[in-house]
Symmetry: C2
Subunit: 290 residues, 2 copies
Amino acid sequence: MIGEIPGVTSGQMFPNRRSLHDAGVHRPLQAGICGTSRTGAESIVVSGGYKDDEDHGTVIVYTGHGGRDPQSEKQIADQSLADPGNAALVTSYLEGLPVRVIRGAQSQSPNAPSAGYRYDGLYSVTSFGSRMGNDGFRVWQFRLEALVLTDQSSAPYSENLPLQPEGAPIQRRLVTTQRVVRNTGFARQVKTWHRDQCQVCDTRLIVPGGTYSEAAHIQALGAPHHGPDIVGNILCLCPNCHVLFDSGAIYLRDDFVVMAGNSEIGPLRLDPRHHIRLAFVQNHRARWRY
Amino acid sequence: MIGEIPGVTSGQMFPNRRSLHDAGVHRPLQAGICGTSRTGAESIVVSGGYKDDEDHGTVIVYTGHGGRDPQSEKQIADQSLADPGNAALVTSYLEGLPVRVIRGAQSQSPNAPSAGYRYDGLYSVTSFGSRMGNDGFRVWQFRLEALVLTDQSSAPYSENLPLQPEGAPIQRRLVTTQRVVRNTGFARQVKTWHRDQCQVCDTRLIVPGGTYSEAAHIQALGAPHHGPDIVGNILCLCPNCHVLFDSGAIYLRDDFVVMAGNSEIGPLRLDPRHHIRLAFVQNHRARWRY
């Protein structure tokens, strides 16, 4: 279950890991990361287990799993992206999936609860990378940012960034995002059928942990377009073709030929399992006056 | 000025358009859209001037400018993306720029203030397109979504979406975004130097109103990477190469040859005005263990 758990609200307290498990907020009783490479990370527990963690409130630097001696709690080997928990966080990054964050009292952070565990809402993984950890071994680190702020006055960037040598100070309060992509179960199905290969230009981007594509809704979701979230209304595209399709630079004819203005680009690659509905193709064209 | 105005908070009231102008919240005294194709839209006033507008609170469907008879207030001609206000909103969409939203009492919406104008914070343009308006002429419409929610219980999708014929109901509460891109003045400078042409693969995406590229910070901003926002730390990339670069699938050697694993992809296209600093290139490599 990715996203909010019905009936559980941000700020809700839990006495122990068992109660987090029972509520479905964080299912493992020991592991800090719940999830797999295929599904993405459902939830993480921030409880100060790793020296390299940083907790700035709306921004968290979370150290991946592995390489730690259970006795001394020291890092004794490099971490790997092959670790299922770490691979789950990479998928969350690539697919823009939200991760439930739980803070435990063991953490030294001023943001930690005084006892037990607190569910702190959804975060997004906005970057990741590896570095030498404090104990001299390689660790993977994931930057998570709060997806929903409960108080407009709270800054997404509460951390202190180093002063930049050129020009004006960085604007810290604002997260701007480009290209909002709706990720749904149907989007995942279409991307799986096409094995992340763009239906327009055949590009398949190879990234750590697998391949990457985006689901484009043909008739866009939500007002004013009111397209439905069904497989017949979704294309599997590379990010470049997605930009072109969503801004009307390319569109489809009724015979599924990709057009740019009056020029034929070529046929859309089809898959027999994936029935694209003409009504949505026609709606997309009408949106761009073609 | 894009983004928040220092000292002005969401919910703040203004008696009239002159006071909005004086505070810098919305500078034109008559026009509903402030901005240009080059800068994006700074602000819009939602005041019920167009019959085709929809105001769902955290989601707004905003009708573009033009084609209206000033006497009858009826649509008497098609709207155009060449209109500066409409073109500004397209730029805001393409570049992920935040737009200040002001609601006026003239609007019929239950979200409107009872008198004067209210600044309602930052919104993001998440899609756009044209359709036949209620008066029989073509109008352009922009979907805006609240960037910061003041109350976690308020749903980003408060509108009623049509029931989908296949599968489970759409999850309405969650906005997921892929690929958070930091847009700064320095990013704009680098993209201008390269005229939106990807420094890795030479792609230049042509979209309505111009061309599109993304600014990639070499040493990522924010914890744990702490890269600065300066031109020497930014590349101009197409979205595809941006995904590859940010996930470590491609990286740069010290001689600015683009590498994928141990394979040479080719030289990075350089511009004499754009001095890329080696320290950031080395930091990016170290992040991916190269």
